[in-house]
């Protein structure tokens, strides 16, 4: 419980990165950690880049994660993974990224300039990259919007928060009618990252 955890969540407004950051904070608090989280509101519903920092441990002062100190950078989109990759702790930080591209809508010529080589670039940088097809998995489960919770399930296998705290956070925070789908998405994410690790 003494270890300080620094997590960075990145995504595009509307993908629900703020929600999974919040679920992580709730689970960490339930597990007995001190927790702080910071986010920037206002653009979250308008397709802008969204970043949320979550820190937990014995005693937390700053809510801000410093670049180079994140244990995990969780990105729901590849360009956003690139944008925040420098937050990962050199050598041991993990970049957990949804294998999914969203072209920025309000930038001229974005379609031609989008960095489709993001994954290769991060691997060349010797970063620990785990890519998951979470959006595809979410569609298989019947709802494209729950890719965020698939990724959260994956995250849960990488950090020290007990299973019952995750379950409690999901039940407390999500509307009952969406709970089943989200629990399935969470479980699917856990399995996906285990398979990925087994393959490595």
């Amino acid at each position: 419980m003494d270890k300080l955890h620094n997590l960075m969540f990145a995504g595009v407004g509307g993908q629900g990165s703020l929600l999974i950051a919040e679920l992580t904070s709730m689970a960490a608090a339930d597990a007995g950690y001190d927790v702080k989280q910071t986010e920037v509101h206002g653009v979250s519903q308008r397709g802008g880049s969204v970043e949320t920092h979550v820190r937990f441990g014995k005693k937390i002062y700053s809510p801000i994660v410093t670049p180079g100190e994140a244990d995990v950078v969780l990105a729901l989109e590849l360009l956003e993974a690139l944008r925040f990759a420098h937050y990962a702790y050199p050598g041991k930080g993990i970049i957990l990224v949804n294998d999914h591209e969203i072209i920025p809508g309000s930038v001229s010529g974005a379609e031609d300039m989008y960095p489709h080589n993001a994954k290769a670039f991060l691997r060349d940088k010797k970063m620990n990259v785990i890519t998951l097809k979470a959006t595809q998995k979410a569609h298989e489960l019947g709802d494209g919007r729950i890719a965020n919770v698939v990724m959260l399930g994956a995250l849960s296998t990488l950090i020290d928060i007990p299973s019952q705290s995750w379950q409690k956070a999901l039940k407390l925070r999500l509307p009952t009618r969406y709970l089943d789908g989200n629990l399935k998405a969470f479980a699917a994410g856990e399995q996906m990252v285990r398979k990925e690790n087994a393959a490595v």
Partner: protein, 584 residues
């Protein structure tokens, strides 16, 4: 019991516990969630959205004089609007506790300027408390009410974006019901202009009494005083100092106005050099220098512009270097926010772009009209400024000027300039984007929306009648999603010989009723599509391209606004027969 709360939620919680029975505000990032939380969880605080910050402040001032405990909320620039009353209230002093939240935005995450409102407080002789984390947001609000009633003084609680929008664990308590104080009519106190000379010395007495209090207040405290490094800090910077210099001797100022000269001198005399670490302007630093403390390092090392962070302090203090983004090695495209799928503003900006007008814009989502693909907004300054700016541009010889303003902003600060435009004979062309919401801050209701902060039905301001009453002869309402009508009516207004107002109507897609409604989305019939790409020029984020080059509409995002169907020459875009899942 502890709860994970946003800074703003913790402020709301503190206000509720402190027995607040009246709360008013105007939406503005990063302050909005305070009134929203009061409305959702603590309706006994009687929260309301007011027409603007000046009105919110004055309603609160009246309620406090009348003996209630009052919370008033606004963002930093909102206090500029309320400044007229803010500067004079201390002359009378309050009766019931009065706390105004000024939510400043260092880094300008969602604001047009950086503005450190501690200076406004100094000018107005108002005491300022600065919490540093969510727990203190709750605690300091409760303390602020006690101080306010002890000194009969309005108190400012200053937050910043990181503080307002961070979450932390907060130990909460129960509500204390505070009896209403008696209101004793006393013109010698409350009719300030007549009795100003009588009141002026009292302003000084009050602030000096608060300065004496600051010398020994538990809000200002010294930690690790035996260490060799000394730091004076306030607000969230205190948390960064604890992180970066955990062993340093710290004078943490929870009350940053008025400042305690003896305490500051005493603390600084223990060290060879003292760092002053405060986000924003050198407010504390300048005061310290003004009372003769010179062994200071402050803004020359840490800077004035933007937010502080632990990384920034580490770099300034040469403790460590912080990695930067990989922008040198790979294209990291920016991703600015954009108008929502189905936003009614799109058709208006498409028209303005085609008409090649000069557009004086205003504050709201529609500032994004200045961005690609529209690039059809040429000035934006402050709430309500579109109309006055357009009048001035026209006077300076520009002949195709349009002012554009949202409905909430029009109500907030657009009515006097419209009256003035008509009165002084301007040929103003004004488009009011009427989406029944204060959109940018999350679709809060306003007087023309027919709802109040609690979601109850409220009298609905009639914008057409209001505009007509100013003497404007041409007032036309148009469905904002009918692109041909929008173009026709705006063109007509431009050609009109005299002031003309177009009200482009259509609800904000972020309104709960819009999100909840049942509708069928639109789909593309590939057999009919000629790949002419006309639909892409609508710039709807829900339209993307299949690998075969056809447009495809994300049916989960489509709002059935019909605009893409209107522009499709072969009529290949039609209503779906049933809702269906998005294709990958």
């Amino acid at each position: 019991m502890s709860e994970l709360l946003l800074g703003n939620q913790a402020i709301a919680r503190g206000a509720w516990e402190a027995g607040v029975t009246f709360a008013s505000g105007y939406p503005g990032t990063p302050s909005t969630e305070i009134i929203e939380t009061l409305a959702a969880r603590y309706p006994e605080t009687n929260p309301r959205w007011s027409a603007n910050e000046k009105v919110a402040f004055e309603e609160g001032m009246g309620a406090a004089i009348g003996g209630l405990r009052v919370l008033v909320t606004m963002k930093h620039v909102g206090l500029n609007v309320a400044a007229d009353a803010f500067m004079v209230f201390p002359y009378a002093g309050t009766n019931g506790g009065f706390v105004v939240i000024s939510a400043d935005d260092p880094g300008m995450h969602s604001s047009q300027n950086e503005q450190d409102n501690r200076y406004l407080a100094r000018m107005g002789k108002v005491s300022v408390l600065e919490p540093s984390e969510a727990q203190e947001c709750r605690d300091f609000v409760i303390e602020a009410f006690k101080l306010s009633e002890q000194f009969n003084a309005p108190i400012m609680l200053r937050t910043t974006t990181r503080l307002a929008h961070h979450k932390g664990l907060v130990e909460v308590g129960q509500r204390e019901e505070v009896p209403q104080r008696e209101f004793i009519p006393d013109p010698k106190r409350f009719s300030v202009p007549i009795y100003r000379h009588l009141r002026r010395p009292i302003v000084e007495q009050t602030i000096e009494a608060l300065r004496d209090y600051a010398e020994t207040s538990p809000l200002n405290r010294i930690e690790n005083s035996d260490n060799s490094i000394g730091v004076v800090t306030s607000g969230i910077s205190y948390q960064y100092v604890k992180e970066v210099l955990p062993e340093a001797g710290v004078l943490r100022l929870g009350m940053s106005n008025p400042l305690p000269p003896k305490l500051l001198k005493d603390f600084c005399s223990r060290y060879e050099t003292v760092y002053v670490i405060e986000e924003g302007e050198p407010f504390i630093e300048e005061y310290m220098r003004s009372i003769g403390i010179s062994n200071l390092i402050g803004k020359e090392l840490f800077g004035v512009i933007g937010e502080y962070s632990p990384g920034r302090l580490r770099e300034a203090l040469e403790i460590s270097k912080v990695p930067t983004p990989f922008t040198e090695e790979i294209t990291i495209l920016p991703r600015p926010p954009m108008m929502c799928v189905g936003c009614g503003h799109r058709t208006v900006f498409a028209t303005l772009r085609q008409l090649k007008t000069i557009v004086a814009g205003d504050i709201g989502c529609y500032t994004m009209g200045a961005l690609p693909p529209y690039e059809a907004e040429h000035t934006t300054f402050a709430m309500g400024a579109s109309i006055g700016t357009a009048v001035g541009l026209e006077r300076a010889g520009q002949d195709r000027v349009i002012a554009i303003i949202g409905d909430a902003t029009f109500i907030h600060a657009g009515i006097p300039p419209l009256i003035d435009a008509v009165y002084n004979g301007s040929k103003l062309t004004l488009v009011i984007l009427d989406n029944s919401a204060t959109g940018m801050t999350g679709a809060q209701p306003h007087p023309a929306a027919g709802k109040n902060a609690l979601g109850e039905d409220a009298p609905k301001l009639d914008l057409v009648k209001l505009v007509e009453a100013t003497g404007v002869e041409m007032v036309e309402v148009v469905d904002t999603w009918q692109r041909k009508d929008v173009r026709r009516v705006i063109s007509k207004a431009l050609a009109h010989d005299g002031p003309a107002v177009v009200i482009a109507q259509g609800p904000c897609q972020q309104l709960p009723d819009m999100k909840r409604r049942d509708f069928l989305p639109f789909v593309v019939e590939e057999e009919l599509c000629t790949q002419c790409d006309a639909c892409f020029k609508v710039w709807c984020p829900a339209i993307t391209r299949t690998e075969h080059g056809f447009p495809i509409i994300n049916t989960a995002e489509c709002t059935a606004c019909t605009v893409c169907a209107q522009v499709c020459p072969p009529e290949a875009i039609r209503l779906a027969e049933k809702p269906f899942a998005v294709k990958l």
